[in-house]
């Protein structure tokens, strides 16, 4: 989906192409038809095309505020207890290889309670008295 959009007033005169300071506009004539092309990487959004168009055909606002493009979608690993999103599998792999250990999917809060629950020796006796 192009950010450089023209309305039906465009008559293919190529004023925009000829006046673009960044060479971000081009055209291809093929099979008796003309295609206008725009390069978002070259485009400086200077607005010269919008200014010079004799037909007022360029909808410049789409180059100013517009749609978002999807870049990547990754799976997520969630905390086994509360479901909070933690990281992607690739990220977990990276931590595990750096720390040389495996990691259950637990958020920082539940990681503590998980290990406390796993402690086979019970809580220290002092702690038991304090809790009373």
């Amino acid at each position: 989906m192009s950010y450089f959009r023209v309305n039906q007033n465009c008559n293919g005169c190529l004023a925009c192409v000829e006046n673009c300071p960044a060479a971000a506009l081009a055209f291809v004539d093929q099979n008796g038809r003309r295609t206008l092309k725009h390069s978002m990487t070259q485009c400086a959004r200077c607005g010269q095309c919008w200014r010079v168009c004799p037909q007022d055909a360029i909808e410049f606002q789409h180059l100013l505020t517009g749609q978002w493009d999807d870049v990547i979608t990754l799976d997520l690993i969630h905390c086994q207890i509360c479901g909070e999103p933690l990281y992607s599998p690739a990220y977990r792999q990276r931590i595990e290889s750096k720390l040389n250990s495996t990691h259950e999917g637990l958020c920082s809060k539940h990681r503590q309670s998980y290990y406390a629950a796993k402690w086979p020796y019970g809580l220290p006796s002092r702690a038991k008295t304090d809790l009373k």
Partner: protein, 227 residues
């Protein structure tokens, strides 16, 4: 690139405190890149300003916006809406942007939130240093690509002053002596004869001494004036 620093909060508060509704407008170009006045900074600033303790009465209402470039009159008039009830604009653009808005939306007051400082470059990420004074008569060919006007505290033209010590400027703050750098560079380029060349009086008219400068490039939208 144009670089600026945000004004102290106190100064901004005292400038906007009498207004009822302020549009806090960021600029999407130079000041975004140097992390002074982009949309993020505009949001941040509006949150900082929207605190009851700054004001004696009710704080103004803040509306945040941002536009790609504030320094183009036809662009701002076509694409920047002025929210109903706005009685002042707080612009985070450089001075060029602030003035363009002031011209475009007069008599609405447009208040600068930044102190525009210099034309600079980023040698290291996060560090912008002054490089160019816009003197209009570039001598970089003679100085190996290092500008003595911008980078020498005294803008000397023919070598360092007596205060140059160990490659540093007597002004301090770890500022390198531009002429030490120039000589080192010319040496590397095998162009030390350039150093021997005496540069005489500079005509500062191209540098702004004769009044504000313009660049006119005809043929662009001449017959197609917008606003």
């Amino acid at each position: 690139m144009i670089v600026g620093d945000r004004k102290p909060l106190k100064e901004i508060v005292s400038a906007i405190k009498t207004y009822k509704q302020v549009l806090v407008l960021g600029c999407g170009s130079c000041v975004t890149v140097c992390l002074s006045g982009g949309e993020r900074e505009a949001e941040q600033l509006s949150r900082e300003l929207d605190q009851v303790r700054h004001y004696q009465g009710t704080p103004p209402k803040f509306v945040v916006g941002s536009i790609l470039r504030q320094c183009e009159r036809d662009l701002v008039l076509a694409y920047q809406d002025m929210p109903a009830g706005t009685d002042a604009v707080l612009s985070l653009a450089c001075g060029a942007g602030v003035q363009t808005l002031a011209d475009a939306f007069e008599p609405l007051p447009v208040i600068p939130a930044l102190n525009t400082t210099f034309l600079g470059a980023s040698d290291k990420p996060g560090i912008w240093t002054e490089k160019c004074k816009g003197c209009g008569d570039c001598i970089l060919i003679h100085t190996g690509g290092i500008c003595p006007i911008a980078r020498c505290a005294k803008s000397l033209f023919n070598g360092p002053c007596g205060g140059s010590k160990g490659g540093y400027c007597e002004v301090g703050q770890g500022i390198p002596c531009a002429w030490t750098q120039i000589v080192a560079r010319l040496k590397k380029m095998d162009k030390l004869h350039c150093y021997e060349q005496i540069h005489t009086l500079k005509d500062w008219k191209p540098g702004g001494a004769a009044g504000l400068r313009n660049r006119v490039r005809t043929g662009l939208g001449d017959g197609n004036q917008r606003n």
